[in-house]
Structure formats: structure tokens, C-alpha cells
Symmetry: C2
Amino acid sequence: MEAESIKQVAEGIRSFLKDNFDRYVRILSDLVAIPSVSAKGEHMDECARLVADLLAERGFKVKIARAGGHPAVLGELESGEKAILIYNHYDVQPPEPLEAWKHDPFKLTAEDGRLFGRGTADNKGNIVARLAAIDALKHVLGEVPLAVKFLVEGEEEIGSPTLPKLVEENREVLKADGGIWETGYVGRRGELRIYLGFKGMLYVELTVKGPSRDIHSGYAPIVPNPIWRLARLACTLKDPEGRVLIPGFYEGLTGLGYDVEALLKELPFDEEALKEELGLEEFVGGLTGLEALRQLHLMPSLNISGIYGGYTGRGGKTVIPSEAGMKIDIRLVPDQDPDEVLEALRAYLAEKGFGDVKLTVHSKYPAGFTKPDEEVVRASVRAAELVYGIKPALVPLSAGSGPMYLFTGVLGVPMTGAGVGYYGSRVHAPDENIREADFLKGMEHVALTLLMFSRGRGAKH
Amino acid sequence: MEAESIKQVAEGIRSFLKDNFDRYVRILSDLVAIPSVSAKGEHMDECARLVADLLAERGFKVKIARAGGHPAVLGELESGEKAILIYNHYDVQPPEPLEAWKHDPFKLTAEDGRLFGRGTADNKGNIVARLAAIDALKHVLGEVPLAVKFLVEGEEEIGSPTLPKLVEENREVLKADGGIWETGYVGRRGELRIYLGFKGMLYVELTVKGPSRDIHSGYAPIVPNPIWRLARLACTLKDPEGRVLIPGFYEGLTGLGYDVEALLKELPFDEEALKEELGLEEFVGGLTGLEALRQLHLMPSLNISGIYGGYTGRGGKTVIPSEAGMKIDIRLVPDQDPDEVLEALRAYLAEKGFGDVKLTVHSKYPAGFTKPDEEVVRASVRAAELVYGIKPALVPLSAGSGPMYLFTGVLGVPMTGAGVGYYGSRVHAPDENIREADFLKGMEHVALTLLMFSRGRGAKH
């Protein structure tokens, strides 16, 4: 396809989406109106059915798939020679605290160029943008120029517990040459942030037992308190500078196999603003600049997400608790096998005298990533330049975790990002919102990514 | 008074109390029916008024005193040459969890020789026993043989916050030659446990600040997590063997000024049963026997009653919390000044790099104790031998804390113990109860203690 032709198609797409914008706001409104909070497990079938209907209306062969948890929607549209996989989720975070919302979280509300509601950014707005992209391509080209596979799951906000099984059971349907990740955000400079990878996760809970029941703390001189052991255990996991002390934790990390530094240097990172926002004098170990980014995006971490034991209400109560525990999230980078890290942790605990501590695994999966020279990434980068008028920021490995390995690793599908949210979307928080302008651009970006990917415009060259 | 005469009076007292037992059960029933839960602050005036009425009916000059908190009842009955101070409290612990009670906690219920209800043992049953003792003495002797001062407070279960002020403001009324502490319990061998002292208390909460808001734990490589600092702080407070590391903590402890070992050796202490009940292989640092009792009853302790930070709900959530904290109860022995210990703790925290940690004091008072050769103690010991038929167990210093110093220290009144509860009274727990036989014995014991104290029978000889 010639440049002239692309420009014409892009204009056609843009004008279709502008003309039909209100229609997509209505679809988003319908989706937001269903409180599909996966943590509560209510309205899940209802929301999955709506997504299935929206796909079926567009000619997709649709299947509601279950792998033991909330239903997922699989949609398949045959066309062209290439195939793209689109990953989304229809479930949302709980809206609480309700009193902190300006508007009803489950009633889409337009105000000052923004659309408020739970799921607008994460992730229902993206579902709609992708449906709109399909409509636009059909309208302008008369057909969708490549096969499209949709996977819209209902458990992302609770850690995608049955997604591995679901992917395994639907390998054939999900086969594709490239994929689009569920989300992406527009940064402060107007750049689209494309996540090319996510760290893995090993989330464990460690529980230390004390006396068989809570007992009056007058017994403290003779009855062991599990909180002391828990504190000592915590102190053996990391040194005061923040280095993880589990043997082998940092060994054998070879990186992502390409020049990641180049991407890191281009990442917007206003460290002073972040420190000020968080009220910090300095980062862990005095990290700054590129070294801070390396730690954030390339190195594994071990964090205590929660610690508990004894009386934690108001005022004072004196007790030796029968139990104390902590929740630990270990974020894994490529080359780290979650099972090996788990075994290293167990062995280290035993070596340090904590072999009796109960260890419960809440989550366990490896990192996954795509290299920036993959065709689908290049297509989305070019589309982003056209739509946003500025180079997108490529994040080689998010500081956060996500099950991208299921796509990049298990299915072998390179993934790129796109999304209608922005830095102020308040994802997971009250007043979640998107900007109407981003919503429109997000639709355009997906349409152009699909177009370029189908025509090989994203190919390495 | 001759031995013969004492025996006759004791028999008269016993037969009066047996004949009128139902009456005292009814009075207890009236008191239990008022849910005077100080933590909730409801029905406090109502209960104080009932106590005041019960005293006024018996000829006491009554005053409802307030020092900023729940009302206290002061009662004064002039008679004889000596004066005794009786300390009780009409407030009770919350009844929750309600579903764990067999009967309505606020409806006194007799079953299998026991009386169930919140406050039966702690402390309304003791109020009634002491009123009954007054009635019995009047009935048998025609008059109460000594002046009696009642102090019945309404804040014991919330740490007696305004009791120091109340005692200070009523010094004159509360003057006495000896006093009876609010409670005591019958042990498994049938012996009355008399508490001659209570450790003091320094209860502080330490709060460590992290980022100004909770933040996604993907930032763990660069954003400091206050839970790590809290764990390190805990590790600097005590060594792994349980020894407190605050400089000077164990210095200058001279003991109680008499042969405490002799009392400790007589204390029933079934350590194997305690270990088995609590599921412990051994006590802190392998302590056993007399050394364990020394630590329990003579040495100060530092305990973490609660620790908190981050997500502590079910499953996993990943967060760096903006705050983490712990509640620490330090039990003080005689010779330890709470203010000095507090300053030593502050200085130690600063020295160890925790000078910025927020320290909130929830409670702060010194230890208080009475020597066993005080006249009032000897009177109650002899009364106990007569009533229970076995030597009472004298606890030189309870492993727990209590504001006894206000009486023994501030007012200079030696205190002895008495109580209608027993080892199975489930104080502070569901199904609080007393045995009817203990209720009767408790009345007798107070009557005989007053009698012997008034006649000098408890005097050193």
C-alpha cells in the first residue's frame, strides 16, 4: 500500500470514527452499566454475553469458554492471510470506596471532555475501541484485512487464575502472527505508552505460628511471640540496602536479548516529580536516573505487600497472638523460573531456621516480553506516530506484572500495546475516567495498527 | 477477740450469707442486666446510679465523682477506728462475639451450680460480695467494725484513664489503713490467689512512614517500603534470646524488698500443662521452673501486641503501604520509672536511625505492690485459710499490669486481694461465669478479712 493510499484510508477511518463516536460511547455506557466486579463474581455472565453479542453482530464466530472460573469470550473472524490476537478483559475492580466517587461508578458520565465510570480505562473502553476499529476497517475497506481473534477474559482483576488453562485449551483458536495487549496509556507528553513485557510474579504468604491461642501478654517473658520471629524472618530476606539475600536470586540474568538501554534512555522519567509526589527524600539505596530505571524495568524485586499479627485496632490491647504473617510479592524477570525461585526461597528459609514457617503460594508465573523489532510492534509504533503525532514510549518490561508470558511464551505470539486511558485515568481508584479525545485516538490507533500489520508495513526493514 | 468468739462470728456470718444467698444473686442479676460496657460508653450513668443506691441503702455517704470520663462511685461509711478501702469497677468488657455465648450475656443465668453473665467474675460479682460482707457484719455484730471506703470506677476495662485524677481529687475520702483490690481468683487446688502487686505499663505505638500514599508494588525496586524498616526496628529492640536491648532496661532493679523467692516457690505452676495447652515445645530461651516464674513475676517485659502494614485481606494484592506500625507493651517492675524508660526508648530509637519514627503513648504508669507482712494482707490470708480451708497463693507481682500503684504508691494504702471468680471464669471471653460456691465463699472471705483487720488479728506478730 502506498503512502498516499494509507493516508486516504487513515482519513476515512478517522472520519468514520468521528461520525460514529456517540455510538461507541453508548456501547461503552452499556458495558459500564454492568457491574462485572470479578472479586464479587456478580453479573459476570451478563457482561460476557454482552461482549459476545457485540462480537457476533460484527460477524465473529463466538464461544463462551470456561476453565473453572468466570467465563471468557472467544471471538474469531476469518479474513486475509495474517491473524492478530486481541486480548482484553471485561471484569473490573471493585468500586469501593463509593463515597469517593463524584458520579455513579456504573453509570457512564460525560464531564469536561472526559468519560467517568468504572472500567472506562481498565478495560471496557479498550474493548470498545477495538470493536470500533473493526467497524472502521470494514467501512473503509469493505472488509477486515486480516483474521482477528478476540480473547476477552473475566478474571484479570483477580490475577487471571484460570487463564493459563483457558489458553492451553484454546491454543488452536488463539494462533496468531501478532497480538495486542489489553492496555496502554497516554503519557504527559502525549505519547502512547506501549508495554512490550511484564515481569512475572511469585506471591507467597508466610505464616509463623506461636501459642495455640492468643494469650495475655503478661506471659511475654516466657511465651514466644510469633511477631518477633516474623520480624527476624523479614530481616533475613533483604539487606538494609534493599538487596535480596536469597542465594542465586540475581544469578543468570541475561537481559532481554537486545539493546534495552536505548529504550530506557527514551522513557520519560521525571524522578524529582515522583519523589515529590510520594514525599520521598530519595529512592531505595539512593538510586537515580538510568540506574533507577534499570532497577525498575530490568531487575527482579521482593516486596512485603502486607504484614499482620495481634491487635491492630485503635488504642491498646495486650496480647501474644497465636499467629503472625506477611504477604510477599516477588516480581520476576526473564531467565527466572518461578518454581526455581520458590525452591530457593524454601531452602533459604530452612537454612535460616524458618523451615517450620507455613508458605502458601497465591500466584506464580514467569515474565513475558516481545522484542521491539517484531512486526506487530513496528506496526503499532507507526500507527501511534500517525495518530498521536509523537513517538510512542516503549516499555521493555513493565515494573508491574502480568500474564503476558501466556501469549509471548506459551502461544509464541509477539504482543504490542494500545490503550485509551491516560496518566490521569485513576485506574483501580475512584473517579476512573478517560478523555474523549484519547478514546477516539485509541480507536484510530488500533485500526491503523491492524491495517499496517496486515499489509506488512510493520515488517522489519 | 478470742478464737472461740471468731469461730462463732464466722458461723453467724456464714449462716446469714447462706440464708440470704438468693438476695445477692438477685442484686448481681440487676447489675449484670445493665450492659455497662465502658468501651462503648453506654449505660454507664445507669450502672453507677445502681451501685450508688446499693451503697446508700447500706448507710454509706455516696458521691458520684467524675474526672473527665465515665462516673465513679465513692461511698463512705464511718465506724470504728480503722478504715479499709475497697476498690471495684462496675464497667465490663464488650460481650462480642455474641454468637459464642450459650446464654444472653446481660441476663444472669444459673446452670450446673454456675452463674453465667458478663461481669459475674469481672467485676460485678465482687461488688456484690463486698456489699454482702457489710450486711453480714452488721447482722452478726450489730455494726460494721471499721470505716469502709468504696471506690467503684467505670473505666477499668479501658485502662482507667481518669483514675489517677480521680484518686488525686479524692485523697481525703480515700484515706485508709488497708485496702482490698478489685479481684482475685480461686485456683485449681481450691486456693484463693491474692495479687499483692501489679507490673506497670508503658504502651506505645510506633509508626513508620513510607511514600505519601499507597503505591503499586511494581515500584518496590526504588520506593522504600516502611514494613522493612519496621521489621528492622523490631529486630533492634530484642535479641533472639528475648533480651531487651534498650540500654539500661534491666539496670537498678532491686526487687520488692523481701524474700520473694519464698512466695514464688509456693506458687502453683504446672509448666508442662501450660506448654501443652499452648502447644509450645519450650518457653522463651528454654526457661523452666523457678527461673520462668522469676521472669514472669519479677522481670520487666517488652512485647509486640500488634503489627500492621499494607494489605492483610484474603489472597494477594500488591502494594507498598504509606505506613506501617506496631503496638508495643512494656511491663514495668518496681524501680522502673515509666518516663525514664520512655526516654531511654526514644534515645535508643534515635541512636539506631529511627529518630523519625512516630511514637504515640497509649498508657504509662508504674508498678505497685504490697509486702506480704502488711496487716491487711495477713488478715486476708487468715480469712482465706478459714474460708477456703487451704493456704492462699500470694502473687508478689502479677505478670499482668494494673493501676495498683495509685493505691500503694500515691495513697500509701497497702492492698490485698479477694475475688469470687475461679480459673474457669472466662474473664473477658464469652460465657464468663462464677461458681455459686465461690460466690458464697467470696462474701465470707471479705467479711472475715474486714473483721480480722478491724480487730488487729492480721497484725504482725
